[in-house]
Symmetry: D3
Subunit: 118 residues, 6 copies
């Protein structure tokens, strides 16, 4: 499986389209609710995306980590902030999270580079 960030984006888009090509209303509502939870509210979007990132790290899901990292970087989160979130995730989740910290480090490098180029 191609682990590049661009490959993840294509895989995610195609996969979501495939899941949502269904008559099952509960699945569609679940995906819709998953968007609403991260909108601006009492907590800013940036904080909520960091919450999503750390939750994804301690539950150890690379695709979820990549999704929230992309959203964090879009919200202006910088390297030092992301590293502190990674540190919390490592501490809470333990060394079993280390491979995901390695995955996150590569994604962070890609995403911050992409932002600089814009």
């Amino acid at each position: 499986m191609d682990q590049s960030f661009e490959a993840f984006r294509a895989r995610r888009a195609a996969g979501n389209a495939s899941v949502l090509a269904t008559d099952n209303l509960a699945i569609k509502r679940f995906f819709a609710l998953d968007k609403q939870v991260y909108v601006d509210g009492a907590l800013p979007v940036k904080t909520k995306e960091l919450l999503g990132l750390v939750a994804s790290m301690v539950l150890r899901c690379n695709d979820c980590i990549d999704y929230h990292l992309e959203r964090c970087v879009a919200e202006g989160t910088d390297k030092a902030e992301l590293d502190e979130a990674v540190a919390v995730a490592l501490m809470v989740g333990g060394s079993i999270v280390i491979p995901h910290a390695r995955h996150a480090a590569a994604s962070i490098e890609f995403l911050l580079g992409e932002r600089r180029e814009r």
Copy 2:
């Protein structure tokens, strides 16, 4: 890693042979018991395989999902039934299960296509 369903089948068969090439009796008995649990009983095989599928989804193991999806389709489970099982898995397990719902959608498409061709 080749993520196609055929590649999974080959990888699984070779891997099981490798695990069972051992003198360790407990491992052999564990694999044998794993077969017995899904035989026809008070609950039909079809229901048991759906239980295995949802358990595999909330525990987030793609190889286990593929195995139970193959068994579900062999038992005649259709798209609407599989989608309802996926909906339960998403609800119980949360958005962290979404990447596995994407994986399952691709496998379901492959397996239902294969069944139609027979």
Copy 3:
């Protein structure tokens, strides 16, 4: 904490009221969606509740197990069927599920007794 089934029912009702005493729409929608997923559809309610039960067992949550056991028994599921679902959960989830199988056994005894008395 009182582990009796009646105590669980009271604790659950009070707890849900406390969670839903909020202006947060996402939380309310999440609870509403959690109801919809288990309604009659391509799969009967009885099967869906068994899916919820096994998912709760492998994820090891006694309150969730008790909730789905109550629903399973209300749908007419009998002891042999529940035991087969427990067997699948033990097999998929491993011996770490055993304490929850012990908890489930006590709840099943209570719930089937209560049903007989009606």
Copy 4:
């Protein structure tokens, strides 16, 4: 087990003393590092404690939830903010987190009441 917040505080203090009554340096360093991760840095303490809270909710540990809730409230986090963090945790972690949302709701009520009285 007494589930009141005061009982948790006493149990936690006694338990930590018992764990740290050891010559094992790694355990002592682990506990020390667990403090350092949440100090003020690129991210404010309040954000880090919210990260710890959501991580604890999706990993489903009531004692960890109570610890981070206490720290969140001490940092001035209000009910609406806590509810949004709970909503993220429910969404990412699924309905299996609901019993912990019930536990959190009771702890939040206690802690905000205690803060008002000061």
Copy 5:
């Protein structure tokens, strides 16, 4: 729920009897296999029980921790050895394991005291 070690022993014995009061062969075989895995072999029982202990800690199940601690102490494991196993569990599993390290510390104190008195 009474958290003393004696209460755990009584609860476990009654619970196992309740689970095994079934005609379900798979459940009985699962429990039988769970015994065989820990017998003396290429690895001594003491090592296997430490494996069971650390697995139970990172999966965060107090009843499983107590069971394996009792077996470890019966095999002659001492405080320094148990603390090193706890340190591995904390490191791999993260701070979410801390409440279980607190639980283990109390159980270790009880079990070593009981052994001294014999």
Copy 6:
């Protein structure tokens, strides 16, 4: 993603370098502590690495499994001992661990072959 053991080694080395290219002290200390936990003490290194292996298997992380398998083989652990550790992991963690037992079987074959050639 190339699943060969050599590819894992390269990926792990590069990934760790990338994670540690940070000013974040907590991350660096976390990695340092992760080394200290496995040094010789009351328990020999060989036993500690087996503990790390089983913890990695029940938490289902292939990169962590490969790391500890490499360390186990370096400490002289043989096939029968590794298989007994795998059996404990399967028993505690359930059939959801089977794909990781398949992964481990391939890694064990590679590592024992490599040791024989030295």
